[in-house]
């Protein structure tokens, strides 16, 4: 590529501003869309945690089984979530880990207040005492958590994230050493994490503060799971010693897992021993942190990547066609150049210089498109995001990608014109181009139009499919009425209510809300429908044999108030609904949906039947009072 080629190319572009503008806009959109997607791929999928030596980090477990699980987890025996006891067992079995931390799989939203100020709902995460040292993160102010903070009798402490300190505590330096209340329990703020540190995973709501695992019983009281060896709720992530053979470590940890499982009745009972041999762990690189969001977003990003590539290809075909259309005028020039001794290589080089220059200008404009585009996609994908740790501003990698994309694009749409030009006849310089008998450009031009049309069809089909599935989601029938219904979240524990005071509180809330003008029905539930969260339990019918480990005995459950089903517009199809008589002291009754009735009591009336959870001896616990129509 010579300076003269570039000068000449620039003059060509200046000479036909209409064409240049059209091409630059087309390219800006095409390259911009691809760069926007790459920004997200780079910012989310390829993101490393902002910690020391992320490449040394490994996670035990490779999938997402958030948030609390009992019994065998994962598919095909792939264990990815662990109890505290099991985590300690694996930690002892793996000296290859210089440090192995454990982090809470699901995070909580807790009520936090300082002094008499209004309480705030902030994100929290329980982490092991060695969490910060494992990641190599020191404090911005004060100190970070240490092993001693995670000891059973340690004083309750917490570390704030930098952004929570900035936004929730007005960057007050006096917060370090101060006492704040978390779920109505006093905690001492011992330090602030450095700016930019967002924890162990990319999520749309990173933790505002971290608490040691040992404080979980302090917060959760009777329902604490720290010392419940069969409750799996932790992800282990650690730093391996250099030179560690990961495959061998994985094999050994899998053996350690099986050995531990075989000591637990929860896993060995009811034929569970038979499936223990296939239980195992997968060790994956942890430099990017816990990949839950990545695994979720990956599919969508891949789809977007394909679509944007197709868009770019269409843009290429389009511009190649525009270039070919100008071809006749250019051909006279090319013939003269050839007559003066330009070989085919030189001619091709010149044409490619022009197209690459054009695409680089388009790519430059595309950076603006990419910047806006990636922000828009993020805003659409994570509408509730707070402090989303994904940077949409153009980094060096993004600039590099845009440049590379421009280069490839330029070469791509330059190929056809360059091929055409390289087959010009030098003799035309003498004869004049008009003498030429056959119009050579017609064939490639037609081929390009066909190519373009085919790609557009693919794009159209993809867009229709996507719109359809989105439309389906939007208009999906979840079996509940949503019009004029509003969901309100509240957390009595966060406000310091103890369990004995809660029933009265609920009754009062229900009464007061019902009395509000315009409110026609009030129902309460542990989880609202469509929240994407609930508890699951293994159901054991009375008079049936105990289910084996592979049996599909799981069912989700929700604890609701008397009028809850009314409030969400779900009808009872058989039996009765809850009444005021179903109190704590009355026989325990439940309502099940039609799917449950059909699954556990096929070809019979489920009303009046009994079932229990976990163990056969409890199978008489609940009586089915009614069946409601299935909701999701």
């Amino acid at each position: 590529m010579t300076l003269q080629d570039i000068r000449y190319a620039l003059r060509q572009l200046r000479k036909s501003p209409g064409f240049t503008l059209t091409a630059v806009i087309t390219l800006a959109l095409g390259i911009g869309a691809n760069t926007a997607i790459f920004t997200l791929v780079h910012g989310i999928l390829l993101r490393s945690l902002p910690v020391a030596d992320p490449s040394q980090l490994y996670r035990i477990g490779d999938t997402d089984d958030c948030c609390v699980n009992g019994g065998f987890v994962g598919q095909n025996g792939d264990f990815d979530i662990f109890s505290y006891d099991l985590y300690l067992h694996l930690k002892n079995a793996a000296p290859e880990f210089e440090q192995l931390a454990a982090v809470q799989a699901g995070q909580n939203t807790f009520s936090v207040r300082r002094g008499e100020a209004l309480s705030k709902s902030l994100r929290s995460e329980y982490v092991s005492g060695n969490f910060f040292s494992t990641l190599g993160i020191g404090p911005y102010a004060g100190r970070v958590l240490g092993e001693s903070d995670d000891a059973p009798a340690a004083a309750p402490v917490t570390v704030l994230s930098y952004s929570a300190w900035q936004h929730e505590f007005a960057a007050d330096p006096a917060i370090v050493g101060a006492t704040i209340s978390i779920q109505a329990r006093p905690f001492t703020v011992i330090g602030i994490a450095p700016p930019g540190f967002f924890g162990d995973r990319v999520t749309d709501r990173p933790p505002d503060f971290w608490m040691p695992l040992s404080s979980e019983p302090y917060v959760n009281g009777d329902s604490a799971i720290l010392h419940h060896a069969d409750s799996n709720w932790l992800y282990p992530i650690g730093r391996v010693r250099p030179g560690t053979n990961i495959a061998a470590l994985q094999t050994r940890l899998s053996a350690a897992l099986r050995q531990w499982l075989s000591t637990r009745p929860m896993y060995t009972d009811n034929g569970g021993s038979a499936v223990i041999p296939k239980q195992h762990v997968v060790i994956v690189p942890g430099g990017g942190g816990i990949q839950n969001l990545q695994q979720e977003a990956g599919q969508g990003l891949k789809m977007l990547m394909i679509l944007s590539t197709v868009v770019l290809l269409i843009a290429c075909a389009n511009i190649a066609n525009l270039l070919l259309a100008r071809g006749t005028a250019r051909r006279a020039d090319i013939a003269v150049r050839m007559a003066l001794g330009a070989g085919r290589r030189i001619v091709i080089r010149q044409i490619i210089t022009e197209s690459v220059l054009l695409s680089c200008i388009g790519g430059l404009a595309g950076l603006a498109v990419a910047y806006g585009g990636s922000r828009t996609i993020l805003a659409l994908a994570f509408p509730d995001a707070r402090n989303l740790p994904v940077d949409a501003s153009p980094s060096l990698a993004v600039l590099g990608f845009a440049f590379l994309a421009s280069l490839v694009t330029g070469v791509l749409f330059g190929i056809a014109p360059a091929w055409m030009a390289s087959h010009a006849q030098p003799a035309e310089a003498l004869r004049g181009v008009n003498r030429s008998t056959r119009d050579r450009s017609s064939l490639p031009q037609k081929a390009l139009v066909v190519f373009q049309a085919a790609l557009s069809l693919v794009l159209l089909a993809g867009a229709i499919l996507m719109t359809k599935s989105l439309g389906k989601l939007e208009h999906q029938d979840f079996g509940i009425a949503t019009t004029n219904r509003y969901v309100l979240h509240f957390d009595p524990a966060g406000a310091g209510y103890t369990i004995d005071r809660v029933p009265a509180l609920y009754r009062e809330i229900e009464d007061r809300f019902s009395a509000l003008p315009g409110v026609s029905s009030v129902g309460m539930a542990l989880y609202s429908p469509l929240e994407g969260d609930n508890w699951g339990e293994c159901v054991i019918q009375q008079g049936y044999p105990a289910p084996g480990p592979d049996s599909k005995c799981g069912s989700t459950w929700d604890r609701v108030s008397t009028h809850f089903l009314d409030a969400i517009g779900v009808p009872i199809v058989r039996g009765r609904g809850f009444t005021e008589q179903d109190t704590q002291t009355a026989p325990q009754v439940v309502l099940v949906n039609e799917t449950f009735a059909k699954k556990f009591f096929p070809n019979q009336d489920a009303v009046g039947k009994h079932f229990g959870i976990d163990e056969t001896k409890y199978s008489g616990s609940f009586e089915i009072a009614g069946v409601f129509s299935t909701l999701k």
Binding site: Q4, R7, Y8, G341, R431, G432
Partner: protein, 240 residues
């Protein structure tokens, strides 16, 4: 010695164009020799094959059959890239419609064939461009673009472009065809001067007045050489 003397030797050369199943015999059995330092004019009625012959002489096109030696080397079966290289080094073209590249300045136009020559340093190119433009009295218009020049000036720049590479032969196809008689005369005098300085020239022309500048006039008719006339005496008269 003989090979050194004869720049171009053509024997029994034919060119047939095939278009839409019609055969056009543009050249049928041409014999022609051009010696180093010679000034040859080619004339004949329209369509007799003058431009076709010139394009084969200049390696712009290949003959259908026959032999062509340039500088003693056979060139009728060379590859495209070899022909490009030889064209660049040995041939200087002057076209009827000037064929300057509109988006390049005068200087860049003259430099263009030199940029295709592998390994010529930029300083050497600039020096040659300056010399060639000086030779045709166009150095003062170096930064101009072709559209800003008169036809005569454009053709002088085209001559400079042909000269810059110091070719073995200048090939001109009706170089005055698009010029008025005054400008035409000027270009003819320029060519005559170049010939006197040692250039070998082969020029196609309709105009008998201009043909007189040459040493020899080759008359073509229907793809054949029908007569060759030595005009040395006439040329000497012009010089005198």
């Amino acid at each position: 010695m003989a090979a050194n003397d004869k720049l171009i030797e053509i024997e029994d050369l034919t060119k047939v164009f095939y278009t839409d199943e019609v055969e056009t015999h543009a050249l049928s059995g041409i014999h022609l020799t051009i010696s180093r330092g010679e000034y040859v004019a080619m004339s004949g009625p329209s369509g007799c094959g003058k431009s076709t012959l010139l394009s084969i002489l200049g390696l712009l096109d290949t003959p259908t059959s026959g032999r062509y030696r340039l500088n003693g080397n056979p060139v009728e079966n060379l590859s495209f890239s070899d022909r490009s290289r030889i064209r660049n080094q040995e041939i200087g073209f002057i076209f009827q419609s000037f064929n300057l590249i509109g988006d390049l300045s005068v200087e860049e136009n003259v430099e263009l064939p030199l940029t295709y020559r592998a390994g010529m340093p930029s300083a050497e190119r600039k020096k040659r461009v300056k010399e060639a433009l000086d030779r045709v009295n166009m150095a003062h218009r170096m930064r101009h673009f072709p559209a800003q020049l008169s036809g005569g000036q454009q053709q002088r720049v085209a001559v400079a472009r042909a000269l810059a590479g110091s070719p073995s032969i200048l090939l001109a196809d009706e170089p005055t065809g698009n010029l008025d008689s005054k400008n035409g005369e000027a270009v003819m005098h320029l060519l005559a001067d170049l010939h006197r300085e040692g250039s070998t020239i082969c020029m196609v022309t309709h105009d008998p007045r201009f043909a007189k500048h040459a040493q020899r006039e080759v008359h073509l008719f229907d793809g054949k050489v029908v007569s060759e006339v030595e005009l040395k005496k006439l040329t000497e008269e012009v010089e005198a």
